[in-house]
């Protein structure tokens, strides 16, 4: 697929990396920063074009004619929307994705569409990250909580700890432990390596387990993996920027939220917009301030500032001062790896959270949702199957008869409103949503082929 990415910022660079490492994508990146582009071109097999992202001449130089997807990820909402509109008006680019941060625009649905701004999909990384963090806080103990089928099915990553009834037992016994709920373990990572789970696999202390379950069953299943944790009541957020502010407004009704912001002006502004949140003016890495505000009683400390170094330090400090669980926003993948093995419980990488929503659009076949996992090494996706038993390789077959590439698990089937956890005898029907987990992203092409159906159908 031919893809143009506008803007080589954090998100743009990650998108370029993820998209260009797939053989079938031709990626061109446009930005005004020449040094950044040169550096990017040295590391990735892409073309770069210097210039203003919304200028038709620059878009032409980047080969907009014949491009399949335009991804506008510059810092400016206005440039992004304008670029998409230009691409559609002048070149009929089939798919245009824009990063639109301001809720001012995104709240008004009429703005986007046929006779309005030609943006097919808008994404707001801040919003995605906020939702992600909010989900993590709602499920204490989880490392990752990802939505499929509009939240009907969730993929949960959790570290198994001794004390959970299932730990030390074979997976087969899950049914006996919880007869009312159903779940499917999609992958297990033991000391960084994936093991293919089957009925006889025994869960050990410290395993990172990914399971799929219907939303209502998640808590029950989580209880099997580790002792249940009390719901989060006290939250401390460091940083009143875009993400910190959104997170506070999302959580303030259910929990007691404190937000620490360094800049007086911003602190004032945030306090005006929020209702029950306590906004504190000060440095999140200030030991005295943290102690004064009873950091040792906090259930969650979330460091959400723009500076990842500050996030790491303040989160480590909060942990030492007694915060129960600490999270930090970290951009560099290498930092994230360093940190999660150390004293910070959850490292959140905004790019990994965002990239999934882009990947869903480049996948062939009808892929509705993609989540990138383990820093891009694994992937979970939701595919809709179309056709009939003759044209499709999966429809009308039992799951045990479908040949999946190595390391791929079919975890759940969503049929209309029903969630069916996949068992060997489940039969796939037309228009089912299948949820797959790939421990090795490199098999993605084989999976795409499997669900694309025969050529005659296309």
């Amino acid at each position: 697929m031919r893809i143009i990415i506008l803007g080589a910022g954090q998100v743009g660079r990650t998108a370029a990396y993820h998209l260009s490492r797939e053989e079938s994508n031709d990626v061109t990146v446009v930005d005004t920063n020449e040094d950044m582009l040169r550096d990017l071109q040295d590391r990735l097999d892409i073309r770069t074009v210097i210039g203003n992202a919304s200028s038709p001449r620059v878009l032409e130089a980047a080969g907009i004619a014949g491009t399949d997807i335009l991804v506008a990820l510059t810092n400016s909402d206005e440039v992004n929307m304008l670029a998409c509109h230009i691409a559609w008006t002048l070149y009929r680019t089939p798919k245009k994705i824009a990063r639109v941060r301001s809720a001012d625009y995104t709240e008004r649905e009429k703005l986007f569409g046929e006779n309005a701004l030609s943006v097919d999909v808008w994404i707001s990384p801040e919003q995605l990250v906020t939702e992600y963090v909010a989900r993590l806080i709602r499920y204490p103990g989880a490392l990752q909580v990802l939505d499929f089928a509009d939240g009907r099915v969730r993929l949960v990553g959790i570290r198994a700890l001794s004390g959970g009834p299932l730990v030390g037992q074979a997976l087969r016994t899950l049914r006996e432990h919880i007869p009312t709920a159903d779940a499917r373990v999609a992958a297990i990572y033991r000391s960084g390596r994936s093991i293919q789970p089957d009925g006889t696999t025994v869960i050990e202390d410290g395993d990172e387990v990914f399971f799929l379950a219907a939303r209502k069953d998640i808590r029950v299943v989580m209880k099997e993996m580790r002792r249940e944790e009390a719901p989060v009541r006290r939250v401390v957020i460091a940083g009143g920027g875009n993400i910190g502010f959104r997170l506070a407004s999302e959580l303030e009704y259910k929990s007691q939220v404190k937000l620490i912001e360094r800049d007086p002006k911003r602190a004032r502004r945030v306090s005006e917009l929020l209702n029950s949140t306590t906004v504190l003016l000060g440095d999140a890495a200030d030991e005295k301030l943290l102690l004064e505000e009873n950091i040792d009683g906090a259930d969650v400390f979330a460091a959400m500032t723009n500076s990842e170094e500050a996030n790491i330090l303040s989160a480590m400090l909060a942990k030492r001062l007694g915060a129960h669980k600490v999270m930090a926003l970290i951009n560099k993948p290498s930092y994230a790896e360093l940190i999660e093995s150390g004293s910070i419980d959850v490292a959140i990488s905004p790019q990994t959270v965002t990239i999934g929503s882009l990947l869903a659009h480049v996948r062939r076949g009808d892929v509705v949702r993609v989540h990138s996992l383990r820093r891009g090494a694994a992937e979970a996706l939701e595919v809709v199957v179309h056709g009939d038993a003759d044209s499709s390789k999966v429809i009308g077959r039992r799951i045990e008869d479908i040949v999946l590439p190595h390391g791929t698990t079919l975890g759940a089937v969503v049929r209309g409103e029903d969630v069916i956890i996949a068992h060997h005898d489940t039969t796939v029907q037309p228009d089912d949503h299948l949820i797959l987990f790939l421990t090795d992203r490199r098999h993605i092409e084989a999976v795409e082929k499997l669900f694309q159906g025969s050529a005659s159908f296309l």
Binding site: E34, R43, L44, D45, T48
Partner: protein, 485 residues
């Protein structure tokens, strides 16, 4: 040292195996013609492939993604080592020593085209085909070919592509994927070669000569199947075809591709280099024709124009095919031709020298300095063909030209010290470093490089490799930091 060289050796082994496959062409020719060189090609192809396979297996453990320095090393290693491999059939079959075989192969691969062999028409056809094929492969570049064939060279591919492609600005690409760009360039190259071969066939050559000379014309090598070179045919139509295709080969192949995809010639007029090249060539041909006519070298102006055009274009584009012994022309003409061969060819072409784009950048930079003296507060970016050239590129060009001249001067001194006369030293080094072909004096078109001794031939071989890889890639091997961990 070990963990720097071995991953590079792993990729080099693959290049060797591909190279062994190209030896099948002369091998099949030898079977077809039942000529006596067959055995040499069988042995060489087999030995090259086996060596490559062994090296590949032995270094498999060290496979990893190529970094910038690996790319440089791979290109340098390939170009230094391949002439030895390519020269093997010549060394095995012909009564020449290793030095001469290496020189001949290097001369082919770098598209220089100076030869040490004589009585070319009596050589087996397979040997001649091999010489021309080397030229043709070296023209667009073996590494670029490898990048086109092996997609997994991916990111590392860009590094090595940059180390081999001539020109100061190599970041612009035809397509987002480097492998795809390499494929398109090779396609343009192969397409033009095919067109040239067909034209030659229908202007009077037989198929074999047409193929060989087509290879020479597009790669801007100077090899011919005859001692008298193109003069052997004494045909105006052949000369016109070759002149045309040599000019095409001296232009940027990316421009050819653009012109082809736009179905029009606008791309050529937009290319500042192409405009300058055509201008310089036009003026030089006419000027030298007039000069030769007034000096009385040729009795009438049309003859003077005919010989001036073919030989000047051929020499200036670094092609080096010739019809006349121009070393016998009054000294101004051949010296002017040597000067042209240093500057005319375009970046991204198969020619050598400092490339027209660098000449333009330097000229404009000189002009800027002059203007700056008059208007000390003037702000003026350096533009070539409407595009602003970054100062970084200007500095790189200055450094390149300095190294280029220092290389020429020091190598000339080495040749002088070895006992050669001045004109031969000067012209042999200029012709070799610019990958032009024949020089003047002892190595002029009337004779060949066979008269030089082994030491002098090694100096020439070194000059050819330096010139083909634009100096930096070879010299970087001698910087200590490359070898440090």
């Amino acid at each position: 040292m070990k963990d720097i060289l071995l991953p590079v050796a792993h990729v080099f082994a693959m290049v060797m195996m591909v190279f062994a496959v190209t030896m099948l062409a002369p091998l099949i020719m030898a079977i077809w013609e039942q000529d006596p060189a067959l055995w040499s090609f069988v042995v060489s192809a087999f030995a090259t492939f086996a060596l490559g396979a062994l090296l590949w297996l032995a270094t498999r453990r060290f496979k990893r993604e190529l970094k910038t320095r690996d790319g440089l090393m791979l290109v340098a290693l390939t170009w230094v080592a391949l002439p030895a491999v390519a020269g093997f059939p010549l060394w095995n079959y012909l009564p020449v020593n290793f030095t001469r075989a290496y020189f001949e192969a290097a001369s082919g691969l770098t598209t220089t085209g100076g030869t040490v062999l004589s009585a070319l028409e009596d050589l087996p056809r397979s040997i001649n085909l091999w010489r021309h094929l080397l030229s043709w492969l070296g023209g667009m570049g073996i590494i670029v070919l490898a990048v086109a064939i092996f997609p997994m060279l991916g990111v590392g591919g860009m590094q090595i592509y940059r180390a081999e492609m001539p020109g100061p600005m190599k970041d612009s690409r035809l397509t987002p994927r480097i492998g795809q760009t390499a494929k398109l360039l090779w396609a343009a190259y192969a397409g033009l070669t095919a067109a040239c071969i067909v034209c030659l066939r229908f202007t009077g050559m037989d198929w074999f000569d047409a193929v060989c000379h087509g290879f020479s014309a597009l790669s801007l090598g100077a090899f011919s199947t005859y001692d008298a070179n193109v003069g052997h045919f004494n045909s105006l139509r052949i000369e016109l075809v070759l002149t045309g295709f040599q000019i095409l080969a001296a232009l940027n192949f990316a421009t050819h591709y653009l012109a082809w995809s736009q179905r029009g010639v606008r791309a050529y007029f937009r290319d500042a280099e192409a405009r300058a090249i055509l201008g310089v060539l036009g003026v030089s041909c006419l000027g030298i024709a007039l000069f030769l006519y007034f000096k009385g070298t040729y009795p009438d102006f049309p003859t003077a124009l005919r010989h001036a055009t073919f030989n000047v274009v051929s020499m200036a584009t670094d092609g080096g095919l010739h019809t006349q012994d121009y070393s016998l022309w009054p000294i101004f003409a051949p010296m002017w031709m040597l000067f042209l061969c240093s500057i005319v060819a375009s970046s991204g072409s198969t020619g050598g020298g400092i490339k027209m784009i660098r000449t333009l950048v330097l000229a404009k930079q000189a002009n800027r300095e002059l203007n700056q003296m008059v208007h000390p507060n003037m702000v003026r970016p350096l533009k070539v063909g409407g595009t602003v050239i970054a100062n970084r590129v200007v500095f790189a060009v200055l450094a390149f030209v300095f190294l280029y001249f220092m290389s020429i001067v020091s190598l000339i001194f080495v040749q002088l010290a070895s006992g050669l006369d001045f004109i031969t030293s000067l012209s042999s080094i200029l012709a070799c470093i610019n990958n032009a072909g024949p020089g003047l004096g002892l190595v002029g078109p009337g004779s060949n490089y066979g008269v030089l001794n082994d030491f002098q031939l090694w100096v020439c071989s070194a000059a050819m490799l330096l010139g083909r890889l634009e100096i930096f890639t070879i010299l970087v091997l001698f910087t200590p930091t490359l070898w440090r961990k």
